[in-house]
Symmetry: C2
Subunit: 481 residues, 2 copies
C-alpha cells in the first residue's frame, strides 16, 4: 500500500478508568472543592443573625408551599404524583397526599415557587424553593433532626449560591433559569449531607445532579417556571439517593472539557469558582443572604410598597383623602411592571398602579389582595387611575433592588414623599417575627386551622430542638389519607 | 424633585397573556411547525425499506434493553424505581418489576443505552433508546396497537432527528449530549401522539419537555450516560402526560429570546430548522435513517470488524495460521480506540487489538466476547499482540464512519487485504433478518427462554397487526412478581 503510515504508540492516550472500575477520585479538583464545601459547612459556625435568617427562610418557605398548593400548576403535579402512587414516605404539604420522597419534593417545590412569593438570593436564584422541599421529604422519611435539617440547608445553600455568584449575571443573561441549572446541585449537596454521603459518593451525587441541570427562561410566566424548582428538588433527591446506592458519575464534572463550565458558562469562570469554594472562603449566607418577600407580587414592587407603608402610617393618608400618587422608578422597571391597567389578580402582581392602590385601600398587599375579585372593585380601579408611574433615570439600576420614590398628594394640596432603596425582608433589613408570622398566617389560613399555624410557628422559631422532622410535616398535612 | 422624569406610555409593553389565561396559540411559529410535523407524520407514507428499518430498530432496541438490564447502572435504577413503588402499569423489561409508565420508561431507557449496543442516527443521537421505552411503557398502559406504536415512533424520530440535523455538529461540539438535550423532545412528541394530544396540548408538551432538555458529555464513560437516555424517556412521558392534564408551557419555546435556540444553539439556526420542519420536508427516516450495531463495541470498530468477517470467510485465515494483522484507520481513531492492551471486557470495547483478535478467535464479536474472562485467555492475548494499529491519513475522517483497511499475513507469507468504508447495519447496508435475530438471541438468551425469544422475533417482524402492545411487554417480563 502506497499510503503514508505511522504506528500508534501504545498507551499514547491514558484512559480514565471507568467509574465502575473504582479508580481513586482526584482530590485537588474544583469538583472536589465543591464537595468539600458541601461536607464541611457547619450551621453553628454562622453568626446568630444568619442562623435566624435561615430559620425564618424555612418557616417562610413552608408557608409559601401551603399557599401554593392551591395553585393550578401545583394541583396538576400533585394529582399526577398521586396517580403514580408509590411508597408514602413523605407528605405533600397542604394536602392529604403522601408520596415517595423524590416526588413529594417535586410537588412541594412546584407549589413553593408557584406564587413567586418564596425567597430570593441576591445571587439570582430562588434558594429555598428547591432546597427545603427536597430536604424535608428526605428528612421526614429518615426521621432526621431539626439540627440536621439546618446543616443540610446551609450546605446546599452554599453550593448553589457560590456557583451563582461566580457565573451570574452572564449565565442568567444567556437565557438560563438558575433555579433549574444550579438549584439541583445545591439540592443534591444538601440531601447528600442529610444522607451522610462520604466524599466520593458526594462527588458522584454532584456529577449525577449535573446531568439534570436545566431550565430556560422562555418558560417564565407559565406553569413550567415553578416546575423547574420541582425538578431541581426531585433530581437532587434522586442524585443523592442513587449515589448512596452506588451509582457513579464523572468525578470531575466541573473540570476539563465538555463539563458543566463548558456548557453553562466559560472555563475561565473556573478560577473564580475555585476561589469561592476555597477553604475559608466567605459564606454566602453571610455576605449575600436571603431575601424574604412581604408582598405577594413581583420583587421590583417591594420598595415602592414599603414607601407606601410608611406613607399610610399617617392616618390622613387614606383612600378618600388622596388625589394623586406619583411613583418614580428606575429605567428597568417599566419592562417588568407591564400591567398599567391590571384587570386580574395575576396582572396586579406586575402592576405598580394596582399594587400602590391596593395597599392604600386594604392596608396590605398579601395573597388576598392579588385576586380577580379585588381587581374588579370599582374603588380600587378609581385609585389605580390616581397613580402616575414616572421613570427617573437618576435611580440606580440593578436586578436586586428597585429604589422607589413615592409621593402622595392629599385633597388639601399637601404632598408627602418617601424614598426606599432596599425593601424590608432583604438581608440588610430582616423581618421581625411578627412580620413573618403575619405572612405565614396569610399563606396558611385557607388550608390550616389557626391552632395548627400557631404550632407551626412555634416549632419553626427554633428548629434545632426538633427531634424528628416528621413532626413538622405532620403539622402541614391536611385531611385524612 | 429636580430629576428628569418621563411618563410611562400605557401599554408600551404588550404582555403575553399568561398560559392559564387561555390565550390563543400563534400558529405560524417554528414551534408550531415542529408540532405539526409531530402530528402529521404517517408511518404508512414511508417507503417499505424505511418501514422495515423501523421494525428492525424496535426489535433491536428491545433486545438491547433486555441485555442491558443486567448492567450495574440499570440494576441500580430498577432497584430505586422498585423501591419507589407505585401503580404497576408498565413492565421493566427483563425483570419481574412493574412501575408507573414514566418510571418504567426511565429504567428501560437506561438499560437500553447501558451497553452502548443500541442504534444510532447519523444525525448524532441515539434515537431508539429514548423513544422505544417511553412509547412502550405508555402504549402498554393504554393498550394501544402496534400500528399506533409505529406511528408514534416515526413522529418522535422525525422531531428529534430534524432538530439534530439542524444544530449538529456544533451543538455536540459544545459539550451537549443530544440523547438528553434533543431526545426528550422527540419522546414527548411520540408519547403525545400516542396519547392523542391536539395541537395546542402538543405545543405545551414540547414546551414542558424543553424544560428537561439536558445532559453533558463530561459524563460519558460513566453510568450517567445511559441515565441521560433514561431521563429523556421519563421526562418525555411526563411532558405529554402533564400536557394532557392541562399543564401549560410557553407556546413558542423555539421562537424568541431566552428559548431553546438561544441556550442550545444560535437563533440563526431557526431558519434551517424552519426548513427542516416545513410541510413536505424530507423524512429523516429516509434520508439519514437508523444504524444498527452488529458488534458489542464502539461503532468506530465496526468497519474493521466487517473487514475481518470477510477475511475469516476464508478457512485458511484461522488463529494458528495468522502471523500478523495490520489495521489502518483514520487520524481520529486513536483518540477513541485507546485500549491497546485491553485487560477487561469493557476496555476491549474500545480496543482495535482486542476486537480483531477476538473475532479471529471466536468468529464473532458479540456480548459474550467482551467479558473479563475472554480478556484473560492467553490465546487471545497472543493474538492481540499480532495486531499493528496504523494511522492512515488518506482515510476519510468523520464521526459516523471509520473506514478501515485490514490485512492478515499468513504463515506462508501470503497477505490478504479487505477495505470497508461503511459497516453492515448502517442505512446503506441494512441487516438481514437472520443477522438481526442472531444479535437478538445473543442479547436475550441470558434472561429469556429460546421459545420466548422466537415469539418476540415473530411478533416484532410485523408490528402493525399487534392488537395490544401489552402483548409485547408480556413476552419480555421475567419471573413472577
Amino acid at each position: 500500500m502506497g499510503v503514508a503510515g505511522r504506528a500508534v504508540p501504545h498507551l499514547l492516550h491514558r484512559h480514565r478508568a471507568n467509574a465502575s472500575g473504582g479508580a481513586a477520585i482526584v482530590t485537588d479538583t474544583l469538583t472536589r472543592s465543591i464537595v468539600d464545601t458541601a461536607l464541611n459547612v457547619e450551621f453553628g459556625d454562622l453568626p446568630e443573625p444568619s442562623q435566624q435568617m435561615v430559620r425564618f427562610a424555612l418557616l417562610d418557605l413552608l408557608a409559601c408551599t401551603v399557599a401554593g398548593a392551591d395553585d393550578e400548576c401545583a394541583r396538576v403535579i400533585t394529582d399526577w404524583v398521586r396517580d403514580l402512587g408509590g411508597s408514602p414516605h413523605s407528605a405533600i404539604l397542604g394536602t392529604p397526599v403522601r408520596a415517595p420522597a423524590a416526588f413529594a419534593a417535586l410537588a412541594n417545590a412546584t407549589a413553593a415557587h408557584a406564587l413567586d412569593f418564596d425567597d430570593v438570593s441576591l445571587r439570582m436564584i430562588h434558594p429555598s424553593a428547591t432546597l427545603v422541599p427536597a430536604l424535608l421529604a428526605v428528612a421526614e422519611r429518615e426521621h432526621r433532626t431539626g439540627a440536621e435539617l439546618l446543616a443540610a440547608y446551609a450546605a446546599g445553600f452554599e453550593v448553589q449560591a457560590r456557583i451563582c455568584a461566580t457565573i451570574n449575571p452572564e449565565h442568567y443573561a444567556r437565557g438560563w433559569h438558575t433555579t433549574g441549572t444550579v438549584g439541583v446541585l445545591g439540592t443534591a449537596a444538601g440531601v447528600g449531607r442529610l444522607l451522610g454521603l462520604d466524599a466520593d459518593r458526594m462527588t458522584h451525587a454532584i456529577g449525577i445532579a449535573a446531568a439534570s441541570a436545566k431550565g430556560i427562561r422562555k418558560n417564565f410566566g407559565t406553569m413550567v417556571k415553578p416546575l423547574h424548582a420541582g425538578h431541581s428538588a426531585m433530581h437532587g433527591v434522586e442524585a443523592a439517593e442513587l449515589a448512596l446506592r452506588g451509582f457513579t458519575a464523572d468525578p470531575e464534572i466541573f473540570d476539563g472539557r465538555n463539563g458543566y463550565l463548558d456548557v453553562f458558562t466559560t472555563p475561565e469562570r473556573g478560577d473564580a469558582m475555585r476561589a469561592a469554594f476555597a477553604p475559608g472562603a466567605p459564606m454566602e449566607l453571610v455576605v449575600s443572604g436571603i431575601g424574604i418577600k412581604r408582598y405577594a407580587c413581583c420583587g421590583a414592587l417591594h420598595p415602592a410598597l414599603d414607601a407606601m407603608e410608611r406613607l399610610t402610617a399617617d392616618p390622613r393618608v387614606r383612600p378618600d383623602n388622596v388625589v394623586r400618587i406619583e411613583a418614580r422608578m428606575n429605567d428597568l422597571a417599566p419592562s417588568i411592571l407591564v400591567h398599567h391597567d391590571a384587570t386580574t389578580g395575576l396582572e396586579g402582581k406586575f402592576s405598580l398602579e394596582f399594587s400602590l392602590a391596593v395597599y392604600l385601600l386594604h392596608g396590605r398587599a398579601g395573597l388576598s389582595q392579588y385576586t380577580d375579585e379585588v381587581a374588579a372593585d370599582p374603588e380600587l380601579i378609581r385609585l389605580m387611575h390616581l397613580v402616575d408611574f414616572v421613570v427617573d433615570e437618576s435611580l440606580p439600576v440593578n436586578l436586586a433592588y428597585f429604589a422607589s420614590v413615592v409621593t402622595v398628594e392629599l385633597a388639601d394640596g399637601e404632598r408627602r414623599t418617601e424614598r426606599v432603596d432596599v425593601q424590608r425582608g432583604y438581608p440588610e433589613l430582616p423581618l421581625s417575627l411578627d412580620e413573618l408570622t403575619e405572612k405565614v398566617r396569610d399563606c396558611c389560613s385557607p388550608r390550616l386551622a389557626a391552632a395548627a399555624i400557631d404550632r407551626l410557628i412555634g416549632t419553626m422559631s427554633s428548629v434545632e430542638p426538633v427531634p424528628d422532622v416528621a413532626e413538622i410535616t405532620r403539622l402541614l398535612s391536611v385531611g385524612a389519607r
